[in-house]
């Protein structure tokens, strides 16, 4: 009896402790860091995945081979294609560390909404990767371009966008879940960052590209792609992209240039800024008030200003204030007039602050946005001027 018990305990332990069906050894997997989706030639999509070669990413073990492998497969559903790409790749692909999703412009123009469902539903894929549009290029070409530091484009873009957003604000900071929320929630349309290949895509796809001081091909952050529903509507400039961030209260730090006197400029580093938006509907017309509060320091000036007087600070602050007002208003007006799609989420603001009225215009909010009355009000305080007071420019003989 006792023997029986011991035996069954061992048996049970062997079954229960042996692990599960889902184990994967590190040597059997390839980590996918980037994915690109393009319009297919025969089928609906072409999926391109970039699997990294971990030994090449480490400087000690790198031996000059290509840092990653990029492979494409064509089919009608992404769910199947993510496994089909093994027709060209040897190991299990792990999608949980995916950093970047690039969508070809052509596909985005036709409406891309349906394959995103797979990305949201799949348990392995996180929903906070960067989502980008490849402007005037194929997503697969963007993935192929190599780069000196992060070596693979998807990792480079991830770092680059992050840096850009923290230092200047050209990346809208949009993750997949933001895009989905913008699609589903009333009163907002999605935006995405757009990238472009500068140079020759063919030449970019080799490790020699990494060895040049000026690479043959470089993926650059180009603009802000804006959507109406699920269709790509157009592109705004990088400047607009920063202003967009400003309205979203997502600016960490940024720099602006203001004209202090004729053809003379000053640069300001904005290091602390907050934006509040108030919105309501009055007699069927939307009134949006954007209040920006910013702190900055002078980071260079062409004018001979006396920065040892409080008054000079005020005067320059006012110039910068006006500059910010103009910039932000211009961006909003451009979107209102040319596209009429509420990428700023003003509808959301009105929804939160004036829900009863918003309910009535819920289904045609974009029209209300297009003729909304926008007022931008900036308060900018210049705190300090670097490590100099007066500029040497005055003393120049």
């Amino acid at each position: 009896m006792k023997k029986c018990g011991v035996m069954s305990a061992i048996l049970l332990a062997a079954i229960l402790l042996a692990g599960c069906w889902d184990q994967r050894e590190l040597g059997e997997i390839t980590v996918v860091t980037g994915m690109a989706v393009d319009k297919g030639e025969n089928d609906k999509y072409i999926l391109t995945v970039e699997g990294i070669n971990a030994t090449e990413l480490n400087n000690r073990t790198a031996s000059g081979f290509a840092p990653s492998i990029v492979y494409s497969a064509e089919g009608n559903s992404l769910a199947e294609l993510t496994y089909r790409v093994n027709e060209g790749m040897s190991r299990h692909l792990i999608y949980s560390h995916m950093r970047t999703l690039i969508i070809g412009e052509e596909l985005a123009k036709e409406g891309i909404i349906d394959f995103i469902d797979f990305l949201e539903r799949n348990r392995e894929i996180r929903d906070d990767f960067n989502i980008l549009i490849a402007r005037e290029a194929k997503g697969s070409d963007v993935l192929k371009v190599t780069y000196q530091f992060q070596k693979s484009t998807s990792l480079k873009l991830h770092t680059q966008l992050d840096t850009m957003m923290k230092d200047w604000g050209g990346d809208p900071g949009v993750r997949m879940n933001d895009v989905i929320t913008a699609w589903t929630a009333p009163g907002r349309q999605p935006v995405m960052a757009a990238v472009r290949i500068k140079g020759d895509p063919e030449a970019g796809a080799s490790s020699e590209n990494m060895m040049k001081v000026t690479p043959d091909a470089l993926v650059v952050l180009d603009s802000l792609a804006i959507f109406k529903g699920d269709k790509l509507e157009g592109f705004l400039t990088l400047e607009d992209s920063r202003n967009y961030l400003w309205i979203q209260n997502k600016i960490v730090k940024t720099s602006i240039t203001a004209e202090c006197s004729e053809n003379k400029y000053m640069g300001l580093r904005v290091y602390d800024t907050r934006t509040k938006i108030k919105g309501k509907l009055e007699n069927g017309k939307a009134r949006i008030k954007i209040m920006i509060r910013a702190e900055a320091y002078i980071d260079g000036t062409h004018c001979n200003d006396q920065f040892d007087k409080a008054k000079t600070y005020e005067e320059n602050g006012e110039i910068a204030q006006k500059q910010i007002n103009d910039m932000v208003t211009k961006t909003i007006e451009k979107v209102q007039k040319e596209y009429g799609t509420d990428i700023f989420g003003f509808g959301e603001v009105v929804l939160r602050q004036d829900y009863q009225n918003f309910k009535k215009v819920r289904n045609n909010w974009d029209e209300k946005f297009a003729d909304a009355d926008i007022q931008v009000d900036t308060t900018l305080i210049i705190r300090r001027t670097g490590i100099r007071t007066k500029s040497f420019l005055k003393e120049v003989k």
């Binding site: 599960c20 069906w21 889902d22 949201e120 348990r123 996180r126 589903t184 829900y355």
Partner: protein, 373 residues
Amino acid sequence: MLKENISLSQLLTLLINFLLGSAIVVGVGGDAKKDAWIAIAASIMFGFGIMLFYYFLISRVPGKNLYELMEIGFKRPLAIIFSNIYSVYFLYLASRVVRDFGELIASAILPSTPIEIISLTICLLMAYILYLGLEVLGRTSEIFTPYLFGFLFLLTILLFASGNANLHEIKPVLGDGLKPVLNALFPTLIVFPFGELIAFTLILPVVTNFKYCLRVSLLGVAIAGALLLFAMFLMIVTLGADALLRSNFPMLSSAREVSIGNFIERIDALVVFIMMLGILVKGSVFMFAGLKGLEYTFRLPYRYFSLPVAMIVSAYSVLISVNFGDHWQEGLEMVPYFLHLPMQFGLPSLLLIAVLWKKRKKKAKPGTKGMKF
């Protein structure tokens, strides 16, 4: 039959884990969208009422559990029938709870592992705990509950620190009026999870310090309700109402959002721990309640039945529905109306009336014999 006792603190932790149990896995009150937390806040009030009702029922005859009360109320033959119905009800609920857990693991954590194995392993554990008795269950939940609070606290800190929680997501509060809140409240939120406290009519009589039992039970309901409310609030502010409604396991989805410096990521394990503890306690309490019914019918210690019954639960947890949609629909459309309402409120009310009537009759004729309990 061995006399078992659990302490008041064990009762408290059992109550908390029981109420959190599957409610935190699947998320409750979703019908009210942004105002789900208001619905939960309101349901806590009903939770107090329900707890008071069961306590009142049980305290009519001290030391007797639901099945023994039935004997007083309806005589033994009828009581056996009712107790068997209740056993089946409780074991069915135990299977549902195990299935919830199985679905969670199979769809989010270990997709290639068969759900049978998952439900078998957790049922083996439950069988072992219940074989050792209610006291062991009480101690298990007592030991692990601090971790639950710790992990929930950690999750909150991480969600706010990573900037995923946007407090403005809850606005507008009550934008569409009270109607969606009421829809979520009746009957779903009342019968699940608070109505399921009926299983505690088998546990309350064995608490050592029965004097403070009511106070502790109400405290348990309050704490569990507050945690549910807080968890729902957290889910709304991280996911937003739309994504919340689309998630099968919203708590898990919100934990997946956490990403601090590309370093602290994928903290799903914390949430899975909270859920696993809740499921383990809830499943065991239901199974215990079912086993007590068998004990009453067959006059044998319930622990003899624990392994076979756990295996039945394990098998049925897989068999009760063909797919997740089936399981979901059954739980939302059938169970509340056809099972929960009669079993949680119908029969107990009947029983309460019968017991009160019998007691009055007994009081009226103090000299008569024949009322043997």
